[in-house]
Each structure stands twice: as C-alpha cells, then as structure tokens.
C-alpha cells in the first residue's frame, strides 16, 4: 500500500472512529451523505455535492439546531472527506477497468 493510501486510511479512521463531540454514527452518516435530518442533512448534502452553494444561513441553522460549533466542524469535515473518497473510489475502479487485461 502506498504512503498516500495509508495516510488516507489514517485520516478516515481518525475522523470516523476517534474521539469527537459528534457521535460516531452521526459522523458516519455525514461521511456517507445519508440519513441525517435537516438542517444538518441539507448542509452535508451541499458540502458533498455543491460546496460552493453553502451559505452563512446553512452553517447558522446547523449550529442553532442544538449542535455545538465543534460538532458542526466535525460533521462538515466528515462530509467533505466522504465525498472526496467516493469520487476517488469511482475513479480508481474506472482506471482498473481501463487497464485490465482482456
């Protein structure tokens, strides 16, 4: 396994399984962009699919829904790493298919 692959796994393991304010199940849901109720779910979906569209109001709504800023910080990080991981996995599978011996 390359250094960068190992480093990515360490990052994912830390944010999903290490200590934090958000429960691990919430961090995993953010990583997967699946199963979180609004307003957190709406924020996570924007981070994953249209990050440029996140507004002050999205962050404020997540913070005001009873989540601490640290919890919102963790959830947004998990959403970003999850989205980038899905893109990477899709691309690596495409590369494998393109270079597979017939």
């Amino acid at each position: 396994m390359s250094d960068v692959t190992q480093a990515r796994r360490a990052l994912t393991s830390r944010i999903l399984e290490g200590s934090g304010e958000a429960p691990p199940s919430e961090r995993r849901a953010a990583f997967d962009n699946s199963g979180l109720a609004a307003p957190l779910g709406a924020l996570v979906d924007k981070v994953a699919r249209r990050p440029y569209s996140v507004t002050d109001e999205d962050i404020a709504a997540a913070s005001e829904s009873g989540k601490s800023e640290d919890r919102v910080f963790e959830i947004v990080v998990c959403a970003a790493v999850g989205a980038a991981t899905r893109q990477l996995d899709t691309a690596l599978a495409a590369l494998e298919a393109a270079t597979r011996k017939e």
Binding site: S2, D3, V4, A7, R8, A10, L11, R14, I15, G18, G20, L43, K46, V47, A48, R49, P51, Y52, V54, D56, I59, A60, S63, E69, D70, V72, F73, E74, V76, V77, A79, A80, V81, A83, A84, T85, R86, Q87, L88, T90, A91, L92, A94, L95, A97, A98, T99
Partner: protein
Amino acid sequence: MRLRILESGHGFGTKLLFVLIRTASRQPVLDVIKLVMYRPDFYGRPMQAVTQDAMRGPSPWSVGDRELMAAFVAKANRCEFCTKAHLAVAQAAYRRDGGGSSNVSPDLESATIEEPLRATLLMLGKLTREHAVDADDMRVVLAAGASRQQIEDALAVCFSFNVIGRLADAFGFFVPGPKAFEAGAQYLLARGYR
C-alpha cells in the same frame, strides 16, 4: 469564517504562533492555516500527511504540475481561495524548477500544457464536476501518454483538493489579496504541507 471556533478558538500557543506569522510575513494568517491548526489531532495533522504525500511525495509529476492540478480541481469546484492559492504555488514552482508552462493557468484554452497533463486535467475536471468518470475517460488519458502511476498520483492530488476546497467553501474562507497568496506560496514551496 462561519464558525467562531475556527477564527478564534485556538489555544494560547497557536495564537502566539499566528502573531509571529503575521509579523514575519506582514500578511494576515490564511484561513486554511487557522483550519488545520484548530484541534489538529482531528483533521489538521492527518490531512497534512495526506496532502504532503500527494503534493511532495515521489511522483513522475513535478511539483508545479501537481500544484496546477490542485488549482484546476479548485476551479472546477468554484473555490476561489484554493484556485488563487495553488495557482500562485504552481507559478512559483515552475519559475523555480523550470519545465512547466510559461503562462500557467487553470484555463486550458489559453495555457501551453503538454498532452498527458492536459488530458489528466480534463479527467480531473470531469471527476470533480460530475463526481464520476468511467473506463473510457481513463483510456483517453492513457492514450494521451499518461502512465497508470501518473493517473493514480493525479487522483491523490484530486482527493486532497476535493476535501480542502469543500472545507474552504463550507467554512467561508476569506479571500485575501495576491501578496498574501504569494507569501503562502513561498512557504508551501519551501516547507511543503507538514
């Protein structure tokens, strides 16, 4: 930034470091630094290891090429902060190391870029915008002369900047003037992402 903790929630030692950075560089501390220095055990340190390997680890791509990929991914994500930051590093790297485009730009229409890199950038742009590529997209890049290793290394760059760009947009990074990015570029060229 949209979360107060990222603007001013750092410990005393980190705040002191920010004063030193402002004094030495005569520029504001970039928001990306504030982000990686906030609770660094959660995100900053493990992410810096990922980015250091992708951007400065052994690779057939030059540092300038990888910084141009970072700027290109950022542009595809419509992230102004990361586009300006990494275009500045790419320009500085090509000036330092040579071998790159003299009119480096994430605008492929106007830039002079060799074919393997151009095809790789186009694939990264599609992946970033559409969240997917297929085997045919990869065959185009391979046919343009990029090796499998080069594609894997480019995807590692793409991963890092698909994370960082999302955080820049979500947390609302302040976009400073060109002098601040130039100072940041000199730091990243000299020290890397550690």
